[in-house]
Subunit: 137 residues, 4 copies
Amino acid sequence: MFTYPRQVQFYETDLMGIVHHSNYLRFFEEARVAWAHYLGVLDYQQKESAYFLAVLETQVRHLRPGSFGERIEIDLEAKLEGIRISFQYRIRSLTQGVVLALGQTVHVSLNLELRPIKPKPELIKIMGSRQWTETWL
Amino acid sequence: MFTYPRQVQFYETDLMGIVHHSNYLRFFEEARVAWAHYLGVLDYQQKESAYFLAVLETQVRHLRPGSFGERIEIDLEAKLEGIRISFQYRIRSLTQGVVLALGQTVHVSLNLELRPIKPKPELIKIMGSRQWTETWL
Amino acid sequence: MFTYPRQVQFYETDLMGIVHHSNYLRFFEEARVAWAHYLGVLDYQQKESAYFLAVLETQVRHLRPGSFGERIEIDLEAKLEGIRISFQYRIRSLTQGVVLALGQTVHVSLNLELRPIKPKPELIKIMGSRQWTETWL
Amino acid sequence: MFTYPRQVQFYETDLMGIVHHSNYLRFFEEARVAWAHYLGVLDYQQKESAYFLAVLETQVRHLRPGSFGERIEIDLEAKLEGIRISFQYRIRSLTQGVVLALGQTVHVSLNLELRPIKPKPELIKIMGSRQWTETWL
């Protein structure tokens, strides 16, 4: 399991005084990109490097509202299924000591013309037959 | 069925040259708010007016990438289930003549302390036992 | 003078219950792009079409807060100075009947390697020696 | 001088492959909020705590484009002038070893009805007659 720390920013709140729900997809993306960079399969210097994480599906379940300044941690697990990579996420608030949200996203590798291709060999090698330990959502 | 027209903005694209996936939740929200205002159950002048659409769950399936300047239409259907309101969405590109994305969101009414409450009577009256005509996602 | 209509969205508010200030740069951009498309110097189908509006400088003065659902109009004027294009903006609220914000932005044309180049001939032809009628900011 | 570290996120890029200009105002805000929290004049637990940083004016000059994954640092200086607080910012790229942008923002304290008020005593005490060491923009 990979964990990514984050703090809720002022510009991520809305008039209800809580984190706007669209930002959870951005929190997931930050964690996913940090995970890929950590594993060495994403190189910030190469533009096409992020194209193996094109988004096919997203799903979020909100359990508690998040607030300005709140310290959160995003837990992440990944698995490879055919040419697709699936992630699950759990966002925990360190400030409140509760889970704020759960989510899943599905991705596919694209070439520069945005057509689906097989994942690059180093990703297949690293991912192997890794599975999620359990299903959070 | 309610339809909301929209054009993709430059600031909604990312380095892949397409609409960033988090913006689809914002397109859904725009359509949902326009629908609620059209039916007279959302008053822009009253801050608490939007609190009956607090987000519990979101789901998006991406079929084709959207591009800068593309003209889209968001079809929307709503139904009331207990204290929850569920919406489904279909985003069509007029420019490409295809469906870009499908989605669903689930909502609950909150009071000003962000606790779940029953939907306001005028919403129950308007929604009645209205169902989705079919399921898009 | 070119005028672009817009409505403030829910996701553009922050916990103070007003439009987050970063969104004014997005309102300016929407107006600028609509202006360029209207004049025929921006083609949505061509990715490099927007590269003549790379941003060098921005400036915003906030006079009144904007609110969720508010109907606004963005007035815009442009002028060409050497290889730079400058715009000024005035955001009026139709709902409140007041000016919400004033702004200016400065732009330069870039090639695909992001290096400054001369504006394309059709832009020079259209802009001519057009000046702002007055300075708003 | 206060320095705030940050990394450019994927969702902050646009179709030109660089950081969208509106995000620089968000980088400034992150640095400003971190500074205020560091000095003890902003309490994340109290909603009204951020109301002393309501935005009156913003200004940004872009020197170089920023890219996905780039590590940046935001330098910040503050000064109090009557009831207004002014900040200047300098965004340096650690990845490129250059300055990406310079900026200034002006703020005023608001009460919960969004009317200007005098800064709170602890802010006046902390700020004293502190001046910027030089002007960056």
